[in-house]
Symmetry: C2
DNA sequence: TGACTGACAGATATTGAAATCTGTCAGTCA
DNA sequence: TGACTGACAGATTTCAATATCTGTCAGTCA
């Protein structure tokens, strides 16, 4: 009848919210659908009315989390600085976002790492989103003449691949190495040189 | 008395040999020092006469295995081709060595991955060896004028970092992706451009 | 005499019975 | 009438008793 303040109606969003909290508190190996239902005060059968399976629920929670990483980077992509500075800023923001999460809540980070291992498709989507962001910056750079590569898309993919050590969660343990920033600067200066290099009289 | 054919004397080498075989057959979680001793027909107490601990034994076996990867690359480093070709050949050989091992014996590869997780120092030594090999090639390239980077050592480290996705075992699962070679070519062409780029009239 | 054994203490791993979980669906109730 | 419940089958996980392992060392024996 009235459609406001209907706290009692079970929505997919509420389930995702609760699942996130349950995962945070119990970790991926202990969190159960029954826990999620209990947190919401419903039977676990009700949960299955809104999500197809436990795997689908985990996927959806992971997807949300990944969006909270990639969405804020949009602001950097749409920034006004020259493309080279903007690309560096975007990389810094990406790395900072990841590192902040490992440092602040290492266990939660590990939890999402475990979810990601079972959700290749979701992760692929996340990576594609990020590569697309980088590609848009590089395309700007090509247009303005700052970058001299042919294809923004493949350049973006290569930049992303070449910097894997600095943003791929598999390498998270290395992010607290003292030399990590120096290492990134080294890689960055090669990549930046490659992107900006004048086509050059052969060889 | 006589020092030939003394099959009965227990040496550190024989222990490493046996430990390798036990690890191959039982995997890292099941392999025990008792198994190694049994394979050698001695008591496990004897094994402790030659190795300080199970961890030290694992480290030594891992180190051997890593040497079997890095040693053959020396031939490439000492090759006669121009540095850029040689560096590429070295990278190809490194990647081929790793991929061959995952493909032929995935479980054994996983076993060594697990050993490596507990042997940071040994792994660090292996990486240093590899980076040093790359640095020697790059130094040649600088001498011959083919490369224009300042410091061979740090350039080598950056090249190694930038190609992590293609040789770091953490990414082994990605090595069977159909696009992996294309991805490497993309990264390589950026790195090659960066190394060979003429210092360029600024910006 | 010194390489090797084997029993030991404490730590770690295995095992299988009992408990819990996932996903379904006929039935309730607002 | 349709969102929700709760009991169920089969799969998975837990837990505590039991067995095995690691590292040591006094003692054997060649």
């Amino acid at each position: 009848m009235d459609d406001a303040a209907q706290d009692s109606v079970l929505t997919r969003d509420k389930i995702l919210e609760a699942a996130e909290e349950v995962l945070r508190r119990f970790g991926p190996s202990k969190a159960t659908v029954v826990d999620v239902a209990r947190a919401l005060g419903v039977s676990h059968g009700s949960v299955y009315r809104h999500v197809a399976s436990k795997a689908a629920l985990r996927d959806a929670v992971l997807e949300r989390w990944l969006h909270r990483i990639s969405d804020p980077l949009e602001a950097v992509v749409r920034g006004r600085e020259p493309a080279p500075e903007r690309l560096r800023k975007w990389m810094d923001a990406l790395m900072a976002a990841k590192r902040r999460r490992v440092l602040k809540e290492p266990e939660l980070f590990a939890t999402y790492g475990i979810l990601a291992a079972d959700a290749r498709e979701v992760v692929k989507g996340h990576v594609d989103t990020l590569v697309d962001q980088a590609a848009r910056i590089i395309a700007d750079g090509i247009k303005s003449g700052a970058f001299s590569v042919k294809d923004a898309g493949s350049a973006a993919r290569s930049v992303f691949d070449a910097t894997a050590r600095f943003h791929n969660p598999r390498h998270a343990a290395e992010w607290s190495d003292p030399g990590i920033d120096t290492a990134f600067d080294g890689v960055w200066s090669l990549l930046n040189a490659a992107l900006t290099a004048r086509p050059a009289g052969k060889r």
